[in-house]
Structure formats: structure tokens, C-alpha cells
């Protein structure tokens, strides 16, 4: 029982952990697939998301149907024609425009009725807008653009001193935090979530299952090694790999896409460490249960990566999802991490956001750590 007296136990324990960490690190370095997932994949995702995927709406094809040929109407049409957000074409009749809309050749129709200038003088002019609603998000954006364009036109009129009192449809719209309306501002922080999820969850779920599959764990178990040491030996190298992935993403965010980092780098680091621990915990837990690389990786994709992609609030605003789905998102660690990242990158150190989200992640990390320890019981069945 010599190894159980605490004076002796620590150095032996540390040596065993060191040996496991060294082994795991060598395996990561020699296995092209972990390097691919840990470093190459983040890079590809960054370039893909940063340059390829853009949620910005520009050069929207629209039709202008001018039933009124007055100077006022031409001035309004000019606003659309000069805007970078629209690619308008003038059509003689509404029917012709509707045909194009149905064929999805255009996304919307702006129509000025024949009594436009007359009603303008009466102070209640109307601009008719028909938008293709197949993509609700895009429809809403176009609606906003049109409102904006009409607003510009009426502002110009006001500036010129013509009819100071009318306002056809003027909405006060402002875009907060994303003034440039550049989607890379919120895509790149979201990307960090994906990369951390991949490294933390996917890689660990596969390496533990690989030990089961290749029979290495059976040998490892019958040594003085303890369950917590095996877990630590697995956690540390992948934690480090996660931090490297984080560094790649943050550097790209700053220097490639010029996403502002308004909050503290330390908070970003702390939150990311917690999230990687949570992802590692999920990965380890899954692979201790299923013991098969293929199933483990698919299951991890299903419970971590896909929700992180769809339900974390990184791609779709969680306030607009149905209540039932929103309740599910409260179970997802990615949701809290996305909230933290968006706050730190775009808004700054908003403690009211940072504290509760950090607390939830910390609790999840602790819970998963304890569960993994309990599952790792050094028995085969």
C-alpha cells in the first residue's frame, strides 16, 4: 500500500500524468487527422466563412413600376438607381413586374401609382412595395432597405425645403454594434465556437473510442494508472490544441477581417477555456459510453457541432425561434459561449452578460468533469 501514502503518491501520480500527456501529444503530432481537425479545419472554416459565406444583402434586383412620370417620382427612382443596395430595372406595367417576381428574377417591386405626385402634395403619398417572401430574412432586409431609400429621398426633399411637413413612410432605423452591417462581424466570433466544439468534442470523442477499439485501454487499465490520470492525460493535450485553434481564430478575426475586440482579451480567454473544458467533457463522456470511433464521432456531431451551428444564436437569432426550441437551447453550452463572444467582440465588457453566462459554463464544466470521473471506473463492463 506504499503508493497510497500521500507523501509518495504525488510524484508518482505526476509522473504517470506526464507520461500519458507525452504519449497523447506524440499521437496528435503523428496523426494527420488530428492536425487536420485542430489546425487545418479552423483555417478552412475561417476563409470559407469569412469570404465565402456572407449574409449581407447587396445589389438586390428590383423592378420600378412608374405609373406617374412627375419630377418627384423620377427623383425617388433616382435614389434607387444610385443605391449600391439595389439593381433596379424600370418596367412599364405591374403585370410585367409580377411575372418576373414569380420567376424570382427580381426580389421586389417598387410601384408609384399614377396619383403619386398629386397625393404627395396632399401630404399622404404612398409607395407600394411587393417583396418575394420565400426567404423571410431577406424579405425583411429588403423591406428595411426600401424604407431607408424612401427615407433618404424625403430627407433630401426636406433639405431642399420642398414640403417640409410630409413623411411618407419614415422609420428611424439604426443598426447597433454592426454599423457596417458586415456579417463577418458576427460570423467570425461564431466561427470560434465551431472550432472549439470540433477540437474539444470531436477529437476527444474519437481518441478515447480509439483506445477501446484498438484494445490499448485494456492494457492501460491494468497498470498503476488511476482513472482521473487517464482523463487528465487526455484532456491536457487537447485543451492546448483548442487554445492554438482559438489563437488562429482570434488572429484571423483581428487582422484578416478587422472584427473589433471591444471587451477584454482575458475574458475571451477565460470563457474559451471554460467552453473547451465543457466540449472536452462531452467528448470524453460520449466515447466512454459508445466505445466505437464512428458512432462516437457521429454522436458528438449530433449533440455538439450541429446544435452549435444551428441553435447557438450564432447563425439565427434565438429570439425568433419557437419557444419549444428556445427551451432546448438553454441546454446547449454553445449558446452561452456565443453570448459571451458576441458581447466581448462587439459590445465590450458587459458584465450583466458575462457573469451569468460564465457561471453556467463553469457549472457545466464541473458537472461534466465529475460525471466523466464517475464513468471512468477502470472496468471493462
Amino acid at each position: 500500500m506504499k503508493e497510497h501514502t500521500s507523501a509518495d503518491a504525488w510524484p508518482a501520480k505526476l509522473r504517470r500524468i506526464r507520461a500519458l500527456v507525452r504519449k497523447e501529444t506524440l499521437q496528435v503530432l503523428r496523426d494527420p487527422s488530428s492536425i487536420a481537425i485542430g489546425i487545418v479545419l479552423p483555417l478552412i472554416l475561417i476563409l470559407l466563412f469569412g469570404y465565402g459565406l456572407s449574409l449581407d444583402v447587396k445589389h438586390v434586383p428590383i423592378a420600378l413600376v412608374m405609373d406617374d412620370n412627375s419630377a418627384d417620382a423620377s427623383a425617388l427612382a433616382g435614389v434607387f438607381e444610385l443605391s449600391p443596395y439595389f439593381r433596379p430595372q424600370r418596367l412599364p406595367t405591374l403585370a410585367a413586374a409580377q411575372t418576373l417576381l414569380l420567376q424570382q428574377k427580381i426580389d421586389g417591386i417598387v410601384r408609384l401609382q399614377s396619383d403619386f405626385s398629386q397625393r404627395l402634395n396632399d401630404g399622404h403619398a404612398e409607395v407600394q412595395l411587393i417583396v418575394h417572401g420565400a426567404d423571410a430574412n431577406r424579405a425583411r432586409i429588403i423591406q428595411g432597405y426600401v424604407t431607408g431609400a424612401v427615407g433618404i429621398w424625403s430627407a433630401q426633399r426636406q433639405a431642399q425645403g420642398q414640403t417640409p411637413d410630409i413623411a411618407p413612410v419614415t422609420l428611424q432605423t439604426r443598426v447597433w454594434f454592426n454599423e457596417a452591417n458586415d456579417s463577418s462581424y458576427f460570423l467570425v466570433p461564431g466561427l470560434i465556437v465551431l472550432v472549439m466544439t470540433l477540437i474539444g468534442g470531436l477529437l476527444t470523442s474519437m481518441v478515447m473510442a480509439r483506445e477501446w477499439e484498438r484494445g490499448t485501454l485494456e492494457t492501460l487499465l491494468v497498470t498503476p494508472v488511476r482513472g482521473d490520470e487517464i482523463l487528465l492525460g487526455k484532456t491536457l493535450p487537447y485543451f492546448l490544441l483548442g487554445m492554438i485553434g482559438l489563437a488562429v481564430c482570434v488572429l484571423a478575426a483581428e487582422f484578416l477581417f478587422h472584427v473589433p475586440l471591444r471587451g477584454s482579451l482575458w475574458i475571451l480567454l477565460g470563457a474559451s477555456m471554460l467552453y473547451v473544458l465543457v466540449a472536452l467533457g462531452i467528448g470524453l463522456l460520449i466515447s466512454s459510453w459508445v466505445k466505437n470511433q464512428l458512432v462516437a464521432s457521429q454522436l458528438t456531431m449530433l449533440v455538439t457541432f450541429m446544435p452549435a451551428f444551428m441553435l447557438s444564436g450564432f447563425l439565427f437569432d434565438l429570439r425568433s425561434v419557437p419557444l419549444f426550441v428556445r427551451l432546448i437551447t438553454y441546454l446547449l453550452p454553445a449558446r452561452y459561449y456565443v453570448a459571451l463572444l458576441q458581447s466581448v467582440f462587439l459590445a465590450g465588457n458587459v458584465w450583466a452578460v458575462i457573469l451569468p453566462n460564465t457561471l453556467v459554463l463553469a457549472l457545466m464544466a464541473a458537472g461534466l468533469g465529475l460525471t466523466s470521473r464517475a464513468v471512468m471506473n477502470k472496468r471493462l463492463q
Partner: protein
């Protein structure tokens, strides 16, 4: 440590595997045994006897269902970690990290066992000398041959001197040369360092070298004692019969093996060695008729004879069921089933097969023997059209494999080393799949599947998931699948690796039956005694054919002043070593 107490002691030990949706399997049904300190003990018994389960229980990897098991005076349920701190365990598939080098693997286990740098400096040279792995220190474990991997596994297990060493089938899939080297290591550990070793094995010659034997069968201890005590069971029952013609040994063996009063019959150096149950003097059995007019001499029983005698009442009491083909294998008049001339296969700058030549006659059983990495499997794959040769000529069943591999493949059946079955599919589903893959349709497909289930006695398992079948059944299913399209030639790559002696006998009975019906059989094996079933064999090493001919020719060719009448295994080792010495001398 009180050496008067046993190193391992089990009392009415029970263990049952329970899986969802599968029937529970009682692996151990009340096992009681004792292993004393400083001894070399062996667990033997047929497949599924519970050997691995007992090993895992002793390594505290499983929790006994009931009964007690103490290892080094510690209870496995109460003190698993303390036991694991003191023992070393080498599972059947040793957990080598294939992406670490030889030295890194050893360092990992040394660190985990808390072996200090000074101890390592003293221990490593010993281990390296024993295993001859020194030149490969920096090689990745995944790039070692099968035998070298086993030796590295043993070296990793022995980085420190454990109080008890557990080895679960350490020599499965290892060629005779590597096997002998491994055994020399284990023996010197026991005799020089006083190590306590418990191992399980399906090689009876290995068990015979142990001081204590535990024979398990269906989760129960059938017998335990010294090898001599096991051998004793066949005393007065063992005979050698001289067949009428020099080539008649296999036919006589097959006939004898089918008799109910024959416990065991094997071809042995041109004769047939058999064990016959004590007969009643008043009646004349079919065996007496068979043996009439032959020279039958009583002989000293061997350990294997004793083993088979102990097991006879339990395993397959009706005897073997040889396979009957629906129709004799077609004969297109070509005398040679396989012709190989100057065959070469290179992988990069490594020559796996180096200008080999041999012929296989129609209806013959041809054995391809050789150590791990000799090029047997590569040759097989080229013969089956799975690999393109780098050079040479290759004719199988009258067709040129290099030009029309598909035509050749239609006429041959191939059973790969690990039996290529679809694990999640049932037995019937596997057969249906292979039947479709061979293009069988309609009534013929139905008839062939029925034939396979009937002839290979798979009816009871027809709906069972094939991944969960015991090894013997998997082998039968794989053979049945390979014979569905009634091929002229059947290729079997190490079909008996890891199978117990009885399962191997039954397998060979099927093979001889197939051969009698005109099917040409080409087989590789690590069991040199099995070469005696072959009409002719070729011995390969380092990609070259070193010797070929009938088993008698091979034995004669290998005889020397020191060993005038070598057995097949001795002959094999002598031939391979002689060739390796010549290569070294030339280099």
C-alpha cells in the same frame, strides 16, 4: 509476501455476460483453482471455455458475479487498483500504440509502472537482448511484423518485475520461430527470476511446457494437474497405424476420425496416430474392420492425446460432419489448378514476393507455410486477383489472372484471415449477400443457401448476429460463404489461427472431404502439424520459396545428424534458419 499462500485463488467463481437483446452467456460457472507462487501455469480448453474471462477477472477488469477471487492475497472486488499496481497483464490483443515507436511504447509503460531511470538503464538492455528489438528502437510499433509486435507487447509488460504475470494467448498468430523465441523469454523469467506466470493458450505443446495445467470447458474446470497427469488419461489408448499406401495416411485418418469410438486421429509423418476409447472385447466395431490387415502399434500417449481424451465426452459426441458438395468440382482437363512462374510483388523498394514458382495440382491440398511477413498473404492476394503482380506469370483454373482477374475469381473461393463477414448481419443474411455477390439467382440461390446451412450445420444459428458468434462458427460461415458459387479452388488464409485443437480437427475433416470431391485447396497455417494434412507444401521466407514437396520430402530434406527424424515443426524451423544463415553469410 507469504509464499505459502497461493498467488491466485478462485472459489466457485461465476461470471455471466449480459447484453441487451442477446441471450446471457455464462462464461464461468463455478471455477475453483489455485496458482502457486513461482510456477508457470497454463489455462487450456476449447474456444469459449472462459479462459479470457478468467484472465480479465484476475486483472480486476471485471467484477465476479459470485464466488471469490483473490490475487496476491487481495480480493479483486475490494482492491482492484492495488492488484493492478502489482501485476502485469498482456491481453490477447496487446495495447501497443501503433503511432509510437518501440522505445516510446516501452517508456510509456515504464513511466506508468513507476520504473526509475536507473532501473530502466539496467532493464532495457536485457529486454532488448531477449526480444532482439534493439535495431528497431526507433521504428513505429505499427510497422512491426506480427511476431515482433507480440515481443514488444511482452517487453512492455515486463518493464518491471510484476508479482504475477498474466498472459492471454500470447502466441496467437505468431509463427513457430517467433513463438519459440517468446517461450524462451517466458521460461527464463520463471526459472531465473522466480516469476509467477499464468497464461492461456490454444497450443498444446506450449501447455506441455508448463508445470501446472488447468483445463477449462464451458466455464468449468474439467481437470487440473501436471502435464503428465493430463497425458495419463490417454495411456493404453494411443496407437500408430501404417496405411496401405504411402499416400493413404490422410484418407485413413479421415475414415478413422468419423468412427464413434475414435477419440482423435491425426496424420503424423506418413502414419496415422489415433486414440481409441477403451473398447469392449466382445464386439467388433467398424474401427476393427478399418484397421484389419494394417500394422497397428501401441505408442506412448502425448499431452495432446490426453487433452483430447479428457474432452471427448463433451465436445461434439457424434463426431465430425464432413461436407458433401452438390456436384463434383468441374474439371476442364487442365492438370494444374494453379501455375505460378517467376511471380514478383514489390511495394516501393520492398520486395514482398521475390520470383516464386510452384504448381498446384487439381484436387490437391496445398499448404503455404512461412513465418510472419514471409509473403504468404501477398501471394494469396495475387492468386485471387486482388493485387496486381509486379512481374511473372500466374494461371488460376486455366485463366491468366493478370489478364482476366474477374474470370478467375468466378472459379475460386477465398476465406480471408479475419473472415470477411458482415458482423451486424445474421448468418442467413450474410449467406444471402454473398450469394447475390456471386450472381446466384432464383432457385439455384435458394438451393445453395440451404446447402450451406445444412452442410455447415448453421441451422441453429441461422438468425444469430454473426459478429457475436463464437470463432468456430464464424469460420464455418466464412467457408460456407466462399463455397456458395461452387468454386474449383478454395483459398484459406490462416483459417485455424486461434482455434482450439478440436475445432481444428473438425475443420480439417471438412477440408479433406472437399478435396476428395475434387475441390483444390490452398491453405496457409501456423500449425506445422497441420501441414501433414497437405499433399504438398511450400515453405516461404522473405518472399522466396525455400522448399517444396510432400510433407515427407520436407521432413527428409531437413534431417540432419542432430535430428535424423525431425517433426514438421522442427523441419520448418531448420529450413528457415538454414536459409537465414546463408543470407547472412552472403551479406
Amino acid at each position: 509476501m507469504n509464499s505459502a499462500l497461493p498467488a491466485l485463488r478462485a472459489e466457485s467463481l461465476h461470471y455471466t455476460y449480459r447484453r441487451k437483446r442477446e441471450p446471457a452467456v455464462e462464461a464461468l460457472a463455478g471455477v475453483s483453482l489455485e496458482i502457486r507462487h513461482g510456477t508457470l501455469s497454463a489455462l487450456i480448453g476449447p474456444d469459449g471455455a472462459g479462459k479470457t474471462t478468467l484472465m480479465r477477472l484476475a486483472a480486476a477488469l471485471l467484477r465476479p458475479e459470485s464466488g471469490t477471487l483473490t490475487v496476491l492475497d487481495l480480493d479483486v472486488t475490494a482492491h482492484p487498483q492495488e492488484i493492478q499496481d502489482r501485476i502485469s497483464y498482456m491481453p490477447q490483443r496487446f495495447g501497443l500504440y501503433e503511432d509510437l515507436t518501440v522505445a516510446e511504447n516501452m517508456d510509456l509503460y515504464a513511466e506508468l509502472h513507476g520504473v526509475t531511470a536507473q532501473e530502466r538503464a539496467q532493464r532495457y538492455p536485457q529486454l532488448m537482448a531477449m526480444t532482439a528489438l534493439e535495431p528497431f528502437r526507433r521504428r513505429l510499433a505499427g510497422q512491426l511484423s506480427g511476431g515482433m509486435k507480440q515481443k514488444l507487447g511482452l517487453a512492455c509488460t515486463l518493464v518491471r518485475s510484476p508479482q504475477l504475470l498474466l498472459l492471454d494467448e500470447p502466441t496467437v498468430g505468431v509463427d513457430p520461430l517467433s513463438r519459440r523465441e517468446l517461450w524462451d523469454i517466458v521460461h527464463s523469467l520463471v526459472s531465473e527470476q522466480g516469476l509467477t506466470v499464468l497464461l492461456s493458450t490454444s497450443y498444446l505443446d506450449e501447455a506441455e511446457r508448463c508445470s501446472h495445467i488447468v483445463l477449462l470447458n464451458q466455464g468449468r474446470v474439467l481437470a487440473q494437474g501436471t502435464p503428465a497427469e493430463v497425458t495419463e488419461h490417454a495411456k493404453g489408448l494411443t496407437f500408430i497405424a501404417q496405411p496401405r499406401s504411402p499416400n493413404g495416411a490422410r484418407a485413413l485418418q479421415a475414415q478413422l476420425f468419423d468412427q464413434p469410438d475414435i477419440i482423435d486421429a491425426v496424420p503424423d509423418a506418413g502414419h496415422v496416430r489415433f486414440v481409441r476409447a477403451a473398447s469392449r472385447a466382445d464386439s467388433t466395431s467398424a474401427t476393427d474392420v478399418l484397421l484389419q490387415g494394417l500394422t497397428v502399434t501401441p505408442t506412448e500417449p502425448s499431452f495432446e492425446d490426453g487433452f483430447m481424451t479428457l474432452l471427448r465426452h463433451i465436445v461434439n459426441p457424434e463426431g465430425a460432419h464432413p461436407v458433401t458438395m452438390d456436384r463434383p468440382a468441374p474439371n476442364n482437363g487442365d492438370q494444374h489448378a494453379v501455375t505460378v512462374r517467376g511471380l514478383v510483388k514489390r511495394f516501393g523498394d520492398f520486395t514482398a514476393v521475390d520470383h516464386i514458382e510452384f504448381d498446384v495440382h487439381r484436387g490437391e491440398i496445398f499448404g503455404l507455410l512461412g513465418p510472419n511477413g514471409a509473403g504468404k498473404t501477398t501471394t494469396f492476394r495475387m492468386l485471387c486477383g486482388l493485387l496486381t503482380p509486379s512481374g511473372g506469370e500466374l494461371r488460376v483454373a486455366g485463366t491468366d489472372v493478370r489478364r482476366t482477374p474477374a474470370a478467375a475469381r468466378e472459379r475460386l473461393g477465398y476465406v480471408a484471415q479475419k473472415f470477411s463477414l458482415y458482423g451486424p448481419l445474421s448468418v442467413t443474411e450474410n449467406l444471402e449477400f454473398f450469394a447475390s455477390a456471386y450472381g446466384l439467382r432464383g432457385a439455384r440461390r435458394r438451393a445453395r443457401i440451404d446447402w450451406a446451412i445444412r452442410e455447415f450445420e448453421l441451422a441453429d444459428q441461422a438468425r444469430a448476429t454473426s459478429a457475436l458468434l463464437p470463432g468456430g462458427f464464424k469460420q464455418r460461415l466464412a467457408m460456407a460463404a466462399a463455397l456458395l458459387h461452387e468454386p474449383e479452388i478454395l483459398f484459406l488464409d490462416e483459417p485455424t489461427s486461434g482455434a482450439d485443437p478440436h475445432a481444428r480437427r473438425v475443420f480439417w475433416r471438412r477440408i479433406t472431404a472437399l478435396s476428395q470431391q475434387g475441390v483444390t485447396i490452398i491453405v496457409t497455417t501456423h500449425f506445422m502439424q497441420e501441414a501433414e494434412y497437405c499433399d504438398r507444401v511450400a515453405i516461404m521466407d522473405s518472399g522466396r520459396v525455400l522448399a517444396q514437396g510432400s510433407p515427407a520430402d520436407i521432413r527428409r530434406g531437413a534431417s540432419s545428424a542432430g535430428a535424423p527424424n525431425p517433426g514438421m515443426e522442427e523441419a520448418f524451423i531448420a529450413i528457415v534458419e538454414r536459409s537465414r544463415d546463408q543470407t547472412q553469410a552472403a551479406a
